[in-house]
């Protein structure tokens, strides 16, 4: 009896409609003050002006699998420039029949990246898997072993080249970066100042200047008769550049380890290498995983700069497609497509790093 009475009372005393559900939410989040109401109305008007024409251009009037001429007639977005040239944009000049090889390599890399997202798989075996994966990616691109026909590096292009430059760049730069970070922390003045000069110089100059250096100065550095192909030269420039940034990130990790850890290791009688390898670096490198992912993201974006020294990465193959008279004038569509590729890559990585950061901070 009492129970039912209470229930009827609480049913009678429902909150006003304007405070709950959709209307309440709109009031609380869009019209909670005069200024916000004004802002909402202005924003909605702006969206109304922009979004419908954009949707019309991108979806309703667009052509998806036609020729360039038909595109021009249709008037909307011409996604055909992407669909008709997809394989050239993604793989560039790589021999048409062999394009399954870079594709397989990229699938291996993406699988490894996805596996690395899960902290349950963070074991030594994952590290070996990465080494094997990187090696097989290189082997698949290059060929020449196990009956794979060799493909010269001048033909490596498109998305595989972008991935190769950024992921190989980070992998090779990491050891160098760690050494530089340790050098910067060192008590020996000569080693310390060498590390500081290197790190600050590289961080102070734009990547472009290093790429120019790799394309016009490297050939002068080498003894007569020895030439290095331009992909490897660009790769070296990217490694040297990335290493300086990694060094700063690792230094942050080293500084975050409390002094007690260093002193405890020393009091156990460990020498410098044992101290670093067994006590300090395992902890420091764990802290700096999220910012390292940030560096991978920048490396992934920055490899697009190799366009300027004439390498055919994803951006350059797109431009090569656009210089074809049949497809001239559809740059916006093509650029939106590769922007989407970059966005998916970077966004998933940055999401991962953000999640990881929360987990690691909660863990410690």
């Amino acid at each position: 009896m009492v129970d039912s009475q209470q229930r009827t009372q609480s049913e009678e005393l429902k909150p006003p409609v304007t405070r709950v559900k959709v209307i309440g939410w709109i009031r609380a989040n869009l019209f909670n003050s005069v200024f916000n109401s004004f802002l909402t109305i202005v924003t909605l008007y702006g969206l109304w002006q922009i979004v419908p024409p954009l949707v019309r251009w991108a979806f309703i009037d667009s052509s998806w699998n036609t020729t360039g001429k038909a595109c021009r007639a249709a008037g909307g977005a011409c996604w055909s420039v992407v669909t008709k040239n997809l394989r050239f944009i993604l793989f560039g000049f790589y021999p048409y029949d062999l394009q399954w090889r870079p594709l397989l390599g990229m699938i291996i890399l993406v699988t490894l990246l996805l596996l690395s997202r899960n902290r349950r798989y963070w074991k030594k075996s994952l590290g070996y898997a990465w080494l094997v994966g990187l090696f097989s990616m290189g082997l698949l691109l290059r060929g020449g072993l196990f009956g794979l026909s060799p493909v010269e590096s001048a033909k490596w292009s498109g998305l595989p080249l972008t991935l190769l430059l950024s992921i190989f760049g980070l992998t090779a730069a990491y050891p160098l970066g760690v050494v530089l970070a340790l050098g910067r922390q060192s008590r020996m003045p000569a080693i310390k100042s060498l590390s500081i000069v290197y790190i600050e110089t590289i961080r102070g100059v734009p990547l472009i200047s290093l790429l120019f250096m790799s394309s016009v100065m490297f050939p002068l550095f080498l003894p007569e008769g020895i030439t290095i192909n331009n992909i490897l030269r660009a790769q070296v420039a990217i490694i040297l550049f990335t290493a300086a940034y990694i060094a700063e990130v690792v230094r942050g990790g080293l500084q975050a380890i409390s002094r007690g850890q260093y002193e405890a290791a020393e009091s156990l009688g460990l020498n410098y290498y044992q101290k670093m390898r067994l006590i300090i670096l395992p902890q420091a490198l764990k802290i700096v995983i999220p910012p390292s992912v940030g560096i991978l993201i920048s490396a992934f974006k920055d490899t697009s700069l190799v366009v300027i020294i004439g390498l055919y990465d994803l951006l350059k193959t797109t431009q090569a497609t656009l210089s074809d008279p049949k497809w001239m004038g559809f740059s916006v569509e093509a650029y939106i497509f590769i922007a989407l590729i970059y966005f998916v890559g970077c966004f998933s990585m940055s999401n991962f790093s953000r999640r990881l950061e929360q987990e690691l901070y909660r863990g410690t």
Partner: protein, 398 residues
């Protein structure tokens, strides 16, 4: 292990420690080895380079500075022609870089602050839009954005004859952005002088007001008076010289516009790409700075009777700026370094001019060296300024 200990207790200390167990001597050996290796690598590269240069018979040195450049530069803040020297061409490049960096930094700070505050807005729509903007811009390479805006400007915009005319006096076409500017008049110089005098007066006024407040406790409305002085003095100069209002309005003559001020499509694309990209990062910095201040600070400030403006100016901003300024400067530096991408869309910035110089003279080492020195100079001066600023603004801890 145990045997060692008994050994050392038995025999006391050995008379002489072998030098490989002495940390100080070992450190010296390590450093000598490392320096020797670096020196040998340097010597190896240097000798190779000398041999290569001799074989290709390229003269070294900066003698090419005084030679005639014989290439045109699309736009230049100072008079320049192909008959001028390489030194002057490179100077034009530096000035163009500074122009992009200066305008870009101002616009980036404004846009980034607006977006950063918008992201914290209680208005759901505005906050979501700001988040989408930040995520999208951060995850697309800036070079791709530059190409995008450049291609929009030359593919999608009409020719000057059908130029878009959003506001009176402003024309947007594939030849760039043209807008009306006041016709130059001698009074503009006077106005600039008046503005400078205003700056000096404001500086003196602030000092005096602070002293007076320390002495008597009387606050002085410095901010309002400063604004009055800064804008009032030039306005007075303008009014005194008869308020010249003549505008230099662009007009279509033949195939292009005459008069007004023209911003080339390359400049506009570069500026747009850099500003939109960097502003996304600045917005995150501003958001972090604002969130770093605890609510208690605001409440404490209000409870001692400060007005909203004073809370912002005396309590929130000084603390938020301490968090914001260091990462902000590194973003400004990034913008300056990213402006080197101008070479990809044909804006004659320093790298672009230096690149042309390298191609024409073959002086690769000097050219790349110059690029590095110039940008290193920018970043070292900025970080020197940063250190000075940090020291001034750092919390004084007891």
């Amino acid at each position: 292990m145990a045997r060692n200990i008994t050994d050392s207790t038995d025999n006391a200390l050995p008379a002489k420690i072998p030098f490989w167990y002495d940390p100080t001597k070992r450190a010296i050996i390590y450093q000598v080895v490392v320096l020797g290796m670096v020196g040998m690598l340097g010597y190896y590269l240097f000798s190779n380079t000398l041999a290569n240069l001799e074989r290709q018979s390229i003269a070294t040195g900066f003698g090419f500075f005084a030679k005639e450049a014989s290439f045109e530069i699309g736009e230049s803040p100072i008079p320049y022609s192909a008959a001028d020297t390489y030194a002057r061409a490179l100077l034009v490049g530096v000035l163009n870089t500074l122009k992009v960096a200066f305008v870009g930094i101002i616009l980036t700070v404004i846009l980034g602050t607006i977006v950063g505050i918008a992201r914290l807005s209680t208005n759901w729509l505005v906050a979501k839009l700001a988040t989408i903007y930040i995520e999208t811009m951060q995850d697309i390479p800036v070079l791709l954005q530059l190409f995008f805006w450049y291609s929009v400007s030359y593919e999608s915009l009409p020719s000057p004859r059908q130029a878009l005319n959003p506001i009176t006096g402003v024309f947007l076409s594939n030849r760039g952005l043209v807008f009306a500017v006041p016709e130059s008049h001698p009074t503009h110089g006077t106005m600039a002088l008046a503005f400078l005098a205003g700056c000096l007066a404001v500086w003196a006024l602030r000092r005096w007001a602070r002293r007076r407040q320390e002495r008597t406790g009387q606050p002085f409305p410095v901010f309002l008076v400063s604004i009055g002085v800064l804008f009032g003095l030039p306005l007075a100069a303008w009014l005194l010289s008869g308020a010249p209002l003549k505008m230099n309005v662009p007009e279509l003559r033949g195939f292009n516009f005459q008069g007004g001020l023209t911003l080339s499509p390359e400049f506009v694309a570069l500026l747009l790409g850099l500003v939109l990209y960097t502003a996304a990062f600045v917005a995150e910095i501003v958001r972090a700075g604002i969130q770093a201040i605890s609510r208690g600070q605001v409440e404490a400030a209000m409870s001692i009777g400060l007005k909203t403006g004073q809370v912002l100016r005396l309590v929130i901003l000084p603390q938020a700026l301490r968090v914001i300024i260091p990462p902000l400067t590194s973003q400004m530096l990034n913008l300056t370094k990213n402006s080197t991408l101008a070479v990809a869309i044909g804006f004659p910035d320093f790298v672009s001019v230096a690149n042309t110089t390298i191609n024409q003279t073959g002086q690769a080492i000097e050219g790349v060296g110059l690029i590095m020195v110039v940008y290193l100079f920018f970043s070292l001066t900025t970080s020197a300024f940063m250190n000075w600023y940090n020291k001034r603004k750092a919390l004084v801890e007891r």
